[in-house]
């Protein structure tokens, strides 16, 4: 069955909200920030703007929430608000996907052990280091009493979250499901990124280079979507297909094919096959940065394009000779296909269609 995308919320390096997302996509590539690491090396990053999480409207409910949970709460709340729907609390579910989850708070807890000893650690830090703490905050703040799930895995976490959300809608268990992803860029994770992956000298991700050793610039952020069994007043798209398999060309070429090449895969040469599908191509990682669970941000860009019937220029086209979307312009878009690859050779696909 089809699931309707009735609302979305986003908190990313582009800022908070769809207006900020639109502005960033219109602007195209922008240089990353540079952070100095404790070992003296520099790391280019796409972090949240400093004020992105400033929001007092939830009062005490999120006063103890860590950064990841706060990010998820704001994006999820925005998605619900965007949909202008008041769900029955017992009929709405929540799925939170993450590549690395609450790693920053986990390291904070390890710091507690080293600093104070095993018997004197903070119970608050421990409870927030549990991987489903962000989901717990979202559920509590938004009164979600249906099923609530957290999936944490480097590859395809959001795709599995979407599959699950669709199943809850299809089975009639839920009328609505808030589904999203969140990942943050804590201090230790910056060190890991710098140590494991190569940064591009000019600060530009090159999704269409299909490089065997691609460069990466880590990003962070969260995007949530309200999926529903029925269209709401603000429905902007339908989720027609979610498939986790080997690469299979779409039956009908979509209006736009987003490749999620972002440098997080050790070898991106596998993207050459989906790039040859014949569809017009785009890749928006140079706007958000590299994130193993970056699909929600790419999906937000796709939903915005379908909603506004505009195609945003791919920010770093390179000289691949491929049929890229090179100019931002209004145009009829019936469907957008997103493809992300796994280092084991499998691929995950999402297809969105325009709802009018």
């Amino acid at each position: 069955m089809t699931a309707f995308l009735n609302g979305m919320g986003i908190v990313a390096s582009t800022g908070r909200g769809t207006a900020a997302l639109r502005s960033a996509l219109q602007q195209g590539w922008r240089p990353p920030n540079t952070i100095a690491l404790p070992d003296g090396r520099d790391l280019p990053v796409y972090p949240l703007p400093p004020d992105a999480l400033d929001d007092k409207s939830f009062g005490r409910k999120i006063r103890r929430a860590d950064r990841l949970a706060r990010m998820a709460v704001l994006a999820a709340a925005d998605a619900l608000r965007d949909a202008r729907i008041q769900p029955d609390p017992r009929r709405i579910g929540l799925v939170v996907a993450s590549a690395f989850g609450s790693h920053a708070t986990t390291f904070e807890f390890l710091d507690e052990i080293l600093t104070y000893g095993d018997a004197e650690v903070s119970p608050t830090v421990f409870s927030h280091s549990v991987q489903n703490a962000a989901a717990a905050y979202v559920a509590s703040v938004l009164d979600i009493q249906g099923p609530v799930m957290t999936l944490t895995q480097v590859h395809f976490a959001f795709h599995h979250a979407l599959v699950l959300a669709r199943q809850w809608l299809d089975s009639g268990q839920c009328d609505h499901v808030l589904v999203g992803g969140a990942d943050e860029l804590g201090g230790v994770m910056r060190f890991i990124w710098r140590s494991l992956l190569r940064a591009p000298a000019d600060g530009r991700l090159r999704p269409f280079a299909f490089a065997k050793e691609p460069a990466a610039i880590p990003g962070e952020g969260s995007a949530f979507f309200l999926l529903s069994a029925k269209p709401g007043p603000c429905a902007c798209a339908r989720v027609e297909l979610i498939r986790i398999a080997s690469w299979v060309p779409p039956a009908t070429p979509p209006g736009l094919h987003i490749l999620e090449a972002d440098g997080t895969l050790g070898d991106e040469s596998g993207y050459a096959a989906p790039a040859a599908s014949g569809a017009r191509l785009a890749a928006y990682a140079p706007v958000f940065g590299s994130m193993p669970c970056g699909t929600p941000l790419q999906l937000a860009a796709a939903a915005l394009m379908l909603q506004e019937q505009v195609c945003f220029a791919t920010p770093v086209p390179g000289d691949s000779g491929l049929p890229l979307c090179l100019a931002t312009a209004p145009q009829p878009l019936a469907s957008i296909h997103l493809t992300r690859l796994h280092c084991n050779g499998s691929a995950a696909h999402i297809q969105l269609t325009h709802h009018n």
Partner: protein
């Protein structure tokens, strides 16, 4: 929902490395936790180590959770009479819950980073390759869709519910589902900090209960679509007949005072199975031995099933195995249905007048075909799995 066959069971815990060893431990009442030997800790807390597993299956490179999960998965596949050829020909899913294996909580790595600004990357690479479901797929050598559920202490049960939905939706023919977790210094100190650990052997539902003991292990079920089972002439004796999941939406670490989410999860599981509370032969409760969990859970169970339903917690045998608990306890529930008897609820001796259920105090024969295993978790998650004996499996 159409019942989904459970073709195989596998378990590793302090009770033993196999289903027969587990059954024997239940039979003789092997319930005592021991002192921690797996790693250094200044906390003198009793734990349930999977000692036989560590003695017989020396592991390396920090993959204890993965090794226990693989062991349980292999046993479950053998129980289901599914070999590599059968797996290669089927659409396979692997959905596993965990807590510890989902976190990069290597203390030596962090100590190095903290003191020098740099650290060896071996633990990071191990973590990146160690996603539990993917690692089990790789260990078994099967191509599968994989998902790792990190829903705290209900992760294993949630993974089973998700796996069932993969089969219901036609995504998979066979799903290996359950949970696995190792004893680890982080939750040991964390639960102690929360004031939830007992310095004594745990006493689920007992008036004198003083907290939980941590344990470790893995519990894996093989679920199979009816069409796939029929095509290979296999008639599973057990089935997953219903599942329900609901959130309290109340507090990060405390259950809802009325057990709102648990009640909803139980009702959903019964509804999906098309059964009434009176059809349930027993409940294998989450029963951690903490004040709040046992009080809220006992009241919610009594509200749905009445005061006289046979109830037990197996945590007095295994400790709280966190992400493994839902998987292990689903396995134990299926085993009990298959064997037609329940062990006593280890640790329970004195009734708490505030809890309107009385856990089993002696070995009990089972009357009925259906049972429920409950899992409650941080974050307010509640999951109920309804497991039944199939017509073919009924005595």
């Amino acid at each position: 929902m159409a019942a989904i066959g459970i073709s195989g069971l596998g378990a590793v815990s302090s009770l033993g490395n196999t289903i027969p060893e587990t059954l024997e431990s239940f039979r003789v009442g092997r319930t005592r936790p021991g002192r921690l030997t797996l790693f250094e800790s200044p906390l003198d807390l009793p734990v349930f180590e999977a000692a036989r597993f560590h003695a017989e299956h020396p592991y390396s490179d920090g993959h204890r959770t993965r090794e226990m999960a693989l062991h349980a998965a292999r046993e479950a596949l053998a129980d289901a009479a599914l070999d590599r050829t059968a797996l290669d020909a089927a659409r396979v899913g692997i959905c596993l819950g965990t807590t510890v294996a989902s976190q990069l909580n290597d203390l030596a790595f962090y100590r190095s980073y903290k003191t020098t600004g740099t650290a060896p990357l071996a633990p990071v690479r191990r973590y990146l390759k160690g996603n539990l479901a993917e690692a089990v797929a790789a260990g078994l050598g099967v191509r599968a869709i994989t998902a790792t559920v990190t829903n705290a202490c209900s992760s294993g049960a949630d993974a089973i519910a998700i796996g069932a939905q993969w089969i219901e939706a036609g995504l998979c023919d066979i799903v290996l589902a359950g949970g696995a977790d190792e004893l680890n210094r982080v939750p040991l100190s964390g639960f102690h900090a929360l004031g939830l650990s007992s310095p004594l052997p745990c006493r689920p539902f007992d008036r004198r209960r003083s907290g939980l003991n941590l344990g470790e292990g893995a519990g894996v079920l093989i679920m199979e679509s009816p069409a796939h089972a029929a095509a290979r002439g296999h008639a599973p004796r057990l089935a997953l007949c219903g599942h329900g999941t609901a959130c309290d939406a109340h507090h990060l670490t405390a259950p809802h005072p009325e057990g709102r989410g648990l009640s909803a999860a139980l009702e959903r599981a019964l509804d999906l199975a098309g059964l009434r509370p009176g059809d349930i032969a027993f409940v294998n409760a989450h029963g951690t031995g903490t004040q709040d969990n046992d009080l809220i859970e006992g009241r919610a169970l009594a509200a749905v099933f009445g005061h006289s339903l046979p109830v037990l917690s197996t945590k007095g045998f295994t400790g709280h195995t966190l992400g493994a608990a839902g998987g292990l306890e689903a396995v134990f529930t299926g085993l009990a249905l298959r064997e037609r008897w329940l062990p006593p609820s280890a640790g329970f001796e004195e009734q708490d007048e505030r809890i309107p259920i009385t856990p089993l105090s002696e070995r009990t024969e089972i009357c009925g075909r259906f049972a429920i295993s409950t899992s409650l978790a941080f974050g307010g998650n509640n999951t109920a799995l309804l497991i039944g004996l199939t017509e073919g499996g009924a005595p």
